[in-house]
């Protein structure tokens, strides 16, 4: 592995992950600078969520090195993994809220279980987190009593209440309409600026991430096909990047061709 760069909070090198005979990640690498928003794009089934779960430690990579703040997260070094978990939060696609706990109890849980703070401080910090995400009047509601957007905000409140340095977002806008999608991205950027954490977002939403991201990576066939700035992504001539970036233009072409009676190929390239 190359020498650790202090500007990087997370340095991922050659991560491989296989399920049976199916190799999902074939050597994915990613550099995540501190206090930045890094987005990982990719088609469905290319292993974006697996990659993120490898970063979070939910899945164990078969090969490769993941270094957090210069320290490799080795399975033989549980202290490094514990330190990583203390400083990192994960926002699940499904939110993974505890349905038998109220909104406040959901936010209290990580503080209560992982810190030695007194009950009053835990409660105060949890209420603050709810207030910051405009959920303080719903503190006693259960997740099932909240709307989809509020559940997302509650999951974010739970993720930031421990004041993490790194927050991993797994498809935070999956299944949301365009307005809510924009609202969630705006919320992520707002709180990323407010709290100064580093964000790694996995998503499909190209147009939005080009606006909010500092760095963009494209995962294809288990490796990072592209990694660079949003401007570089917008001008890249790589055919896979072009396909992904210009997917709306391709749809326009296909529909126009159908209207003129031609038979265009609509299959994925």
């Amino acid at each position: 592995m190359s020498e650790a760069r202090p500007s990087l909070l997370l340095d991922v090198r050659g991560v491989k992950k296989r399920y049976g005979t199916h190799e999902v990640l074939t050597g994915a690498s990613l550099e995540v600078p501190r206090a930045s928003v890094v987005t990982v794009l990719g088609r469905s089934g290319t292993g974006k969520s697996v990659f993120l779960k490898c970063l979070a430690g939910i899945e164990r990579p078969d090969e490769g090195v993941i270094a957090f703040d210069g320290t490799p997260l080795d399975a033989d070094l549980p202290s490094a993994r514990a330190e990583f978990r203390r400083r990192c939060s994960f926002l699940f696609q499904s939110n993974a809220l505890f349905d038998s706990l109220t909104a406040l109890e959901n936010v209290v849980l990580p503080l209560e279980q992982t810190t030695a703070l007194s009950s009053s401080v835990v409660r105060q910090r949890s209420l603050e987190a709810l207030q910051q995400l405009e959920l303080d009047s719903f503190a006693d509601k259960y997740p099932s009593q909240l709307s989809g957007g509020m559940q997302k905000r509650l999951a974010l409140a739970r993720a930031i209440v421990t004041r993490p340095e790194l927050v991993l977002f797994d498809e935070p806008t999956a299944g949301l309409d365009p307005l809510r999608r924009n609202a969630v991205f705006a919320m992520i950027v707002k709180y990323q600026r407010q709290f100064g954490f580093t964000a790694v977002i996995v998503t499909h939403d190209v147009a939005e991430v080009l606006v909010i991201s500092d760095h963009v990576a494209l995962l294809d066939s288990g490796t990072m096909r592209f990694a660079g700035s949003p401007a570089a992504f917008s001008t890249s001539t790589d055919p896979v990047v072009c396909d992904f970036r210009d997917s709306t233009a391709a749809l326009h072409k296909a529909v126009d061709a159908l209207r003129t009676g031609q038979n265009p190929s609509l299959t994925e390239s």
């Binding site: 939910i58 978990r85 699940f92 499904s94 993974a96 279980q113 992982t114």
Partner: protein
């Protein structure tokens, strides 16, 4: 055939070892889990309240049937006065701990396995892992400790209600003198019998709750199904194996204590 048998034996050994490690990890986590006492009390409340009505009803009917059957059998030999001994020893030594354990499995154990299975399915357990929360300590340890504490109490309640059931059918319905019934109970039950009853209760409570937690917690490892079906398959397996384990453990403990 030999290969299949060998593979089955290996998987049984592996499964037993995995279950033992799971239970040991849960107990070890007791030392590092915060606010454990609060969660133990909650588990005791959940397991106790869930099972209380069924414990009372089944205990009463068991005592009623024992009193009824026992009276008619003993009547043939002119020994109705021993009815209290028959009911009490049957309940204290065997039926109390075993039936109460089976009720615990059906009522609290199945709910426990399903709850943990759903939490696994909806990534709630993965969320705890990413937060750095001890999943065993938070989800399993309080339930195991709760079962260890509450289950002997439930068994005692089952036996007490059963004794009153025996009195109802023997004395109130069939005319045996109540004083004869209760003095026979008092003479028959020795401290060793009570100790055996509580030992069995603690072991059964621990085994059943540990098995239900194990299968619910590992619902994602179910090879025969995925998603909701995996939860259902894990719950069924937890209930069936717990019932078998209770009966097998009963035989083992009885053969050691007798």
């Amino acid at each position: 055939m030999v290969r299949k048998l060998g593979s089955l034996t290996l998987s049984l050994i592996r499964g037993t070892g995995d279950f033992a490690l799971f239970t040991l990890t849960a107990f070890r986590s007791a030392f590092s889990t915060r606010r454990l006492l609060h969660r133990v009390f909650r588990a005791m409340f959940e397991q106790g309240v869930r099972c209380l009505p069924v414990i009372l009803i089944v205990g009463m009917f068991t005592g009623l049937v024992l009193g009824l059957q026992g009276y008619h059998v003993l009547n043939r030999f002119g020994s109705e006065s021993l009815l209290g001994a028959l009911v009490s020893l049957s309940l204290v030594r065997e039926l109390g701990p075993v039936l109460a354990a089976l009720m615990l499995v059906g009522q609290a154990g199945s709910a426990l396995a399903a709850e943990l299975g759903i939490q696994r399915n909806s990534e709630q357990i993965a969320a705890l892992e990413t937060m750095g929360v001890s999943t065993h300590g938070y989800l399993v340890t309080p339930r195991l400790l709760g079962a260890l504490l509450i289950f002997p109490m439930q068994t005692a309640l089952f036996v007490s209600v059963g004794l009153w059931g025996g009195w109802l059918s023997g004395s109130m319905m069939l005319g045996l003198e109540p004083g004869v019934y209760w003095s026979s109970v008092e003479r028959a039950v020795e401290p060793d019998d009570v100790q055996e009853c509580f030992t069995k209760a603690a072991v059964f409570g621990l085994l059943t709750v540990a098995l239900c937690c194990y299968y619910g917690f590992n619902a994602h490892r179910c090879t025969s199904a995925t998603g909701a079906r995996a939860v259902s398959a894990s719950t069924t397996r937890a209930v069936v194996l717990s019932c078998i384990t209770v009966l097998a453990a009963d035989y083992v403990i009885t053969s050691f204590l007798l």
